[in-house]
Symmetry: C2
Subunit: 335 residues, 2 copies
């Protein structure tokens, strides 16, 4: 079915159909007015927004619409997690090219609504418009956290242990499979493609970290470990040492590099879109906190290094040599 057959308002009706707020006493107005109207949650208000553009962030033939829906919302949910917050509401703006079918849009919104429901988030509004060429999706997510729970980029202290919530570089491996049309056994390709197209979220980990009171800074890994750790270091006026032997790399990423070439560690350091959380933690609390998270979620954070004085980031090899980290993450304007 073509979008022009149902029209903009028919499309909005389809979006609104599956988007009934979980708690009507909190949401006074969702989709269907000039703005949403919500009773603010206790604590501070968090707001993040992310833009995905076809041919820049995704190719339409290498991700399903359902996955694209999930991913477009996941990247904003991950930002709220990185602040230690609880996500609440989702707003989606979309610019739709003429060749996209209504059924494809239904799949896209099914993905968005499913991940929103999993995160306890309501879809409360957005904007719908045409596009001459590229599919464009902007997501805005609001959240909340108590003042003493918020995790900023600027709080890292020398001595902090650096934790990440999962393996690194898998998304970059998945991207290589897509861009280089790699043919790999499914047990290798599937998890890497999943990491790239439908990343895991760490909302429960985020809250355990936030309420612990022992986390000094944090960020989500979207640009790549080296780049994002650089943001923490610049914001906090500190340096860092990453222990190369501790950077967690999946068996699948190692196998990909064995088969197709490349260095798993380099992908882990510079590959973007991992959407793991990186936090710096009071060294006395790091082990207990990692244990607590493992027991509560079944997923173990990895200690990969430490914050130091200065402003440089070093990679420490297993034999104790410190090399300046020169790898850079993704910059949308430098190629």
């Amino acid at each position: 079915v073509k979008l022009r057959e149902i029209g903009e308002f028919g499309f909005i009706d389809r979006i609104a159909a599956g988007a009934v707020p979980a708690d009507p006493s909190r949401v006074l107005q969702g989709i269907g007015d000039d703005a949403s109207v919500v009773r603010p949650s206790a604590g501070l208000l968090l707001v993040t927004t992310d833009l995905m553009v076809e041919r820049v962030h995704f190719l339409r033939d290498s991700i399903t619409m359902y996955q694209l829906g999930r991913k477009s919302v996941a990247i904003s949910l991950s930002d709220i997690a990185a602040m230690g917050g609880v996500p609440h509401d989702l707003y989606v703006s979309i610019a739709v090219p003429e060749d996209l079918q209504v059924e494809e849009l239904d799949e896209l919104y099914r993905g968005m609504k499913e991940i929103a429901r999993e995160a306890g988030v309501d879809l409360l509004g957005g904007d719908t418009t045409g596009s001459r060429q590229d599919l464009v999706i902007n997501t805005t997510v609001t959240g909340s956290a108590a003042p003493d729970e918020v995790i900023y980029r600027h709080g890292a202290r020398p001595g902090d242990r650096i934790l990440v919530t999962g393996t690194l570089g898998d998304s970059a491996g998945g991207l290589r499979i897509v861009l280089e049309s790699l043919r790999l056994p499914d047990e290798i390709a599937a998890p890497l493609l999943k990491a790239h197209c439908d990343p895991e979220l760490y909302l429960r980990e985020a809250r355990l970290l936030a309420v612990s009171g022992r986390v000094h800074s944090g960020i989500d890994l979207s640009d790549g470990l080296a780049s994002d750790l650089g943001h923490i270091c610049r914001a906090s006026n500190v340096g860092a040492v990453l222990e190369s032997g501790r950077v967690p790399v999946s068996a699948e990423l190692k196998r990909l590099c064995e088969i197709a070439g490349g260095d798993p560690l380099e992908l882990a350091l510079s590959g973007g879109e991992d959407y793991r959380l990186l936090v710096t933690v009071d060294p006395d609390a790091a082990d207990a906190l990692a244990d607590e998270i493992r027991r509560a979620t079944g997923r173990t954070p990895h200690a990969i290094g430490r914050i130091v004085e200065g402003e440089d980031i070093f990679l420490e090899t297993p034999d104790g040599r410190l090399d300046p980290l020169r790898l850079r993450g993704y910059d949308h304007f430098k190629r």
Copy 2:
């Protein structure tokens, strides 16, 4: 200067430079972290988001970057006004094609920041990315209003007077000048182009209406009077009568139609992007409220009709005949 010379983070630094929150005790984190962190304002939280795409909403050679910056923010501010709210914070996502110069982006953000400052709004975050072809701008604006102040679409009652805050069709007139390359005397063209490229806002009017307690419903006129009044009627289960002789049309729009053809009333009824406020008001309060707004702002709302029982919208001619209103507003997917 090319964007690739300063890079994504150089660009973000330029945006952040002029964006210092007015009240640091309210804004704990603006640009520079994964999400903004704000102390919520009293009352209910309002959120709106709007997407503008090149070649759909604007042509790059028929609007200045400064105007485009103002307009992209204005359309979201207008949504908060339509709800009766006070706007607070702005978030801007932008996808930039390679051929755009840094100086053009500076102009774009100068426009955004200026209108934000005029509205008392802080720029607290966003997203920056590349685009393969079209310039894309998404704005999200938060606001607040007391529970008994919020103006919804769904509250219109039979008997209500319909008020609009300014003349209608001017933006459509400006669009005609652009699309038909009309050559008109500057005193005619300039105000119509201004209405199209840099629309007036009605934030003070919105607040006077909101606190009056006599406004039953409201919307901002973005799709066109006929279409937007239709939204009010459907949401409220009512009909409406527009008095054709009272629909306010500017002298400039009349002159444009005399010179280039067309019917000013038709442009006023179906032309989009006016961004005037339309409200339905207790009939006993309408005159006093219009007077109060004129005294406070120097701008006079126009009474253009009334809400009636039923579900249809009629146009009442000066001789009292009722014609069903068949004109439709803009639909992004039907052409």
